[in-house]
C-alpha cells in the first residue's frame, strides 16, 4: 500500500546524506519505501549507532530506520501544576527536518539524526492491544517528538498508520504538522476519525523562526482542502511569541485562518505561550543568534520550566482570545500548560467546568459536524 513511485522531494526536505538501517528492519515496508524513494542516497546497515554517529558527527543529516524497542503508545509528558490536555502519543520517530528556532527537540535529544521506527509490525501489535476495547475512546497523535508529516514524502508512514487505524473507530488520530502534505489522505477510510492539525503563528514568526516550514497561507490552504474532503481540523497557536509588533502579527494570523476555514471546521484550538526546559536557552542562543525573543522576561514556572512572565502572557492570550471569539470560537479553545487561574481569567471557564480537559477534548474530537 502507498508505494507509488515518489515524486522529487519537497523543498523543506533536504535529502539525507546517509541512511542507517537496523538489520532487523531491512525487509520492512518502510525501509523498502525509503530506499526506493531516495535511490541516490548511500545507506548502510547500522550495527553500532554510536560509532556511526561519531563517524558522521552529531549534526550530520542522517536518516536512521530503527528497530524501536520502546513503548509506541505513551501519555504526553505534560508538566506538573499546569493543565495538560491528556493527549496520547503514538511514537513513530524522533527529530524533525524543519529548523524551528524554538524547537524543544534541540534540548530533548542528543543528536539531530532523523529517526523513524521502521518496525511498524511491532507498532501495530502494540496498538491492537491498546485499542482492543472498542468502548474505550482514544485521542492520539504522532506530532510530539517529530512533525507528523515532515517525512511523509519519503516514508509514507502516516498513510500506513491511518490505513491501519481505519479498523479502529475508537481512536481519533491527530496529525500535527507545519507543512502541507496531504498524500496520506487517500488512505483514510473515515475522515471523522482523523484530525489534520497545524501549528499556526504570526506570519513573521513563521518566516523568521520556522525555517523550512510552509507559510501560514499554505498551511491554511491545506486545511481548507481537508475541510472540503470532509475532515475537521485542529489548530495550535503554539508557541505564542512575544516580540515587537506581536499584536499586528497575531491579528493577521487570525484573519488568515478565518479567510480559509470557519470556526465550525475547527474541532479544537490550543493556545500555548513559549515555554521551555532551561537547557534549551543556551542551545537556542547558540544555534539561532537572531532569535531575540529568548531575551524576554522568562521566569521559572511552578514546574521548573521557563515561561514568559504572567502579565505578558495574559496580554497576548486576552488579545488572541478576543479575536478568536469574534471569529466564532468558543469552548473549543483551550490552553496548553496553563493554570486554572489563567483559564478563568482569559477564557471565563476552567477545565473543571468542561468536565476535565482530556474528556472535553475527547468529546470534541469524536464529535461529528
Amino acid at each position: 500500500m502507498n508505494d507509488a513511485q515518489a515524486p522529487s522531494l519537497p523543498a523543506y526536505l533536504d535529502p539525507p546524506r546517509h541512511i542507517l538501517v537496523d538489520p532487523e528492519v531491512i525487509h520492512s515496508q518502510v525501509t523498502a519505501r525509503v530506499l526506493s524513494r531516495l535511490p541516490g542516497t548511500p545507506w548502510s546497515l547500522c550495527r553500532d549507532y554510536q560509532e556511526h554517529l561519531q563517524e558522521h558527527g552529531p549534526g550530520a543529516r542522517i536518516l536512521y530506520l530503527k528497530n524501536y524497542k520502546g513503548r509506541f503508545m505513551r501519555f504526553c509528558p505534560g508538566t506538573s501544576r499546569y493543565h495538560c490536555c491528556g493527549y496520547r502519543i503514538i511514537h513513530i520517530g524522533e527529530n524533525c527536518p524543519l529548523r524551528c528556532s524554538y524547537c524543544i527537540l534541540q534540548a530533548y535529544f542528543q543528536d539531530r539524526v532523523l529517526k523513524v521506527w521502521a518496525n511498524q509490525q511491532d507498532l501495530y501489535r502494540e496498538l491492537k492491544q491498546h485499542l482492543a476495547d472498542e468502548k474505550k475512546l482514544f485521542r492520539a497523535g504522532t506530532g510530539e517528538f517529530t512533525d507528523s508529516l515532515a517525512l511523509e514524502a519519503i516514508t509514507g508512514y502516516t498513510g500506513d498508520l491511518v490505513s491501519f487505524l481505519g479498523d479502529y473507530p475508537n481512536v481519533c488520530l491527530e496529525l500535527k504538522s507545519k507543512i502541507a502534505d496531504l498524500g496520506w489522505m487517500q488512505m483514510v477510510s473515515d475522515p471523522a476519525r482523523v484530525l489534520p492539525a497545524w501549528s499556526v503563528n504570526a506570519p513573521e514568526i513563521i518566516a523568521q523562526h520556522e525555517k523550512g516550514s510552509a507559510g501560514l497561507q499554505e498551511r491554511m490552504q491545506a486545511a481548507r482542502e481537508c475541510v472540503r474532503q470532509g475532515f475537521r481540523i485542529c489548530l495550535h497557536f503554539d508557541p505564542i511569541i512575544y516580540y515587537p509588533g506581536w499584536q499586528k502579527g497575531y491579528a493577521r494570523a487570525v484573519e488568515t485562518i478565518f479567510d480559509h476555514v470557519s470556526a465550525g471546521d475547527i474541532a479544537y484550538m490550543s493556545l500555548g505561550s513559549f515555554r521551555f526546559m532551561p537547557e534549551l536557552e543556551k542551545i537556542l542562543m547558540r544555534n539561532h543568534p537572531g532569535a531575540d525573543y529568548i531575551y524576554n522576561e522568562f521566569i521559572y514556572g511552578m514546574d521548573g520550566k521557563k515561561r514568559l512572565l504572567l502579565p505578558l502572557r495574559l496580554k497576548q492570550f486576552r488579545f488572541l482570545v478576543q479575536k478568536l471569539k469574534k471569529a466564532g470560537m468558543s469552548e473549543n479553545m483551550y490552553f496548553c500548560m496553563e493554570s486554572e487561574q489563567v483559564w478563568k481569567d482569559v477564557l471565563g471557564y476552567t477545565p473543571g467546568d468542561l468536565g476535565g480537559l482530556d474528556n472535553h477534548l475527547l468529546r470534541l474530537s469524536f464529535q461529528t459536524r
Binding site: 531575551y295 521566569i299 511552578m302 502579565p311 495574559l314 489563567v342
Partner: protein, 314 residues
C-alpha cells in the same frame, strides 16, 4: 632533539629565556634550599644562539643557580621550531599538575602556531571534546588580560563561552568588573547573562547600557565589594526584567505592610505564576502561639487584605 653532550655554563652564557617557557614562576624556598644543599640534580635545557644560549627548560633552576652564582649543568637542544620547543618544555614538566591558568598559558603559547592542539590537550590531561576543552578553547580567544581574573577565580573559566560571544570592545568594557570584584561563579554567570539580556531588551550597545544604568559609577564608588555586586546585579536585573521587578517591588511593599510588627513572615515564591502566599511563624511557647494566632486574625482583617497582596492577573 637533544645533543647529549653535557655543558657546564656560566649563568651569563644563558642570554635569554625562550618564550616556550610558558609556566615560568618564582622559585619556592625548599627548591632553593635543595639546590644549595645538594646541588643541581637535573640539567636545564638550552638552545645555542649566536653569542650564547637560550633557556628552553629549567627556569627555576636557572634563576636560583644564577642568584647563587653557581655554574649551570645543561643539555643542548637542537635548533627546532617553536612547536617542538614548546613540546620539549611541556614534556619536561609533565610531573606538574597544571591548574586552569597553566592550561590557558600553555594553550595560548601553542594556539597561534597553527597545529592541532589535540596533542597538547592530551599532555595537559584535557579530555577530547570535554566541556573543559571547549571552555579553554573559548577562553584563549579572549585577550590575555583576562587571564589575571583566573588567578583568583579559576571557576570563571566556565563563563568563557559567553565571554567569547562578545566582541573585543565589549570584552574590554566588562573586564574591569571582573578584575575589581571577586565574583562567585553564580554571580559572575548571572552578571553576564543580565548584561546580555539587558542589552538585547534595550536594543542598545553594551557601552551605552552600562552608562545608562550607571554601572561605570558603581565600580569606582565607595560601596563595599559585596554591595557593589548587589547594586550592579540589581540595576541589570531591573533593566532586563522591568515588569518582573515592578511586580516584585509592589508585592514586597504590600507584604511588608501586611506583616510588619508581627511574628509572621510572609513570602511569595511562585514568580507571580500564582497569587499564593506562604505565611510562616516561629514560636517557642504557648503564649507566643496565642500571640501569633491573634496577629494572624488581624492580618486577615487588615485593610491591606482588601486587595490580595500578590495579584498576578493585573
Amino acid at each position: 632533539m637533544l645533543i647529549h653532550t653535557p655543558l657546564t655554563l656560566k649563568p651569563s652564557q644563558i642570554l635569554e629565556v625562550d618564550p616556550c617557557i610558558f609556566w615560568a614562576e618564582k622559585c619556592p624556598q625548599p627548591f632553593i634550599d635543595s639546590l644549595q644543599d645538594l646541588g643541581q640534580l637535573q640539567p636545564v635545557l638550552v638552545r645555542k644562539i649566536s653569542a650564547g644560549y637560550s633557556l628552553v627548560a629549567g627556569y627555576k633552576r636557572f634563576q636560583t643557580l644564577k642568584s647563587l652564582g653557581r655554574k649551570i649543568y645543561a643539555l643542548q637542544v637542537k635548533d627546532t621550531g617553536p612547536w617542538e620547543k614548546g613540546l620539549i618544555y611541556l614534556s619536561s614538566n609533565l610531573t606538574r599538575m597544571p591548574d586552569t591558568l597553566m592550561m590557558v598559558r600553555a594553550l595560548r603559547y601553542f594556539q597561534p602556531l597553527g597545529q592541532d592542539l589535540q596533542q597538547i590537550c592530551h599532555l595537559l590531561g584535557i579530555s577530547r571534546g570535554s566541556r573543559q576543552q571547549k571552555q579553554l578553547q573559548a577562553w584563549i580567544t579572549l585577550p590575555s588580560a583576562w587571564d589575571r581574573t583566573l588567578e583568583h577565580n579559576p571557576q570563571l573559566l566556565t563563563c568563557a563561552p559567553d565571554l567569547a560571544g562578545l566582541n573585543s570592545e565589549e570584552q574590554d568594557l566588562l573586564l574591569p568588573f571582573f578584575l575589581d570584584l571577586g565574583w562567585s561563579l553564580n554571580n559572575a554567570r548571572n552578571f553576564l547573562d543580565l548584561v546580555i539580556r539587558a542589552q538585547k531588551s534595550r536594543h542598545t550597545a553594551i557601552r551605552e547600557m552600562l552608562l545608562q544604568l550607571q554601572l561605570d559609577r558603581i565600580l569606582p564608588g565607595d560601596l563595599s565589594p559585596k554591595d557593589k555586586i548587589r547594586a550592579i546585579l540589581d540595576n541589570l536585573g531591573r533593566a532586563a526584567y522591568p515588569n518582573y521587578f515592578r511586580l516584585r517591588d509592589q508585592a514586597r511593599q504590600n507584604i511588608n505592610s501586611l506583616v510588619s510588627g508581627t511574628l509572621w513572615n510572609c513570602i511569595h515564591a511562585d514568580n507571580f505564576e500564582s497569587p499564593a502566599l506562604e505565611l510562616r511563624v516561629r514560636v517557642q511557647n504557648r503564649d507566643e502561639l496565642h500571640q501569633a494566632a491573634r496577629q494572624l486574625s488581624s492580618i486577615v482583617d487588615s485593610e491591606h487584605m482588601h486587595t490580595w497582596p500578590v495579584y498576578p492577573h493585573e
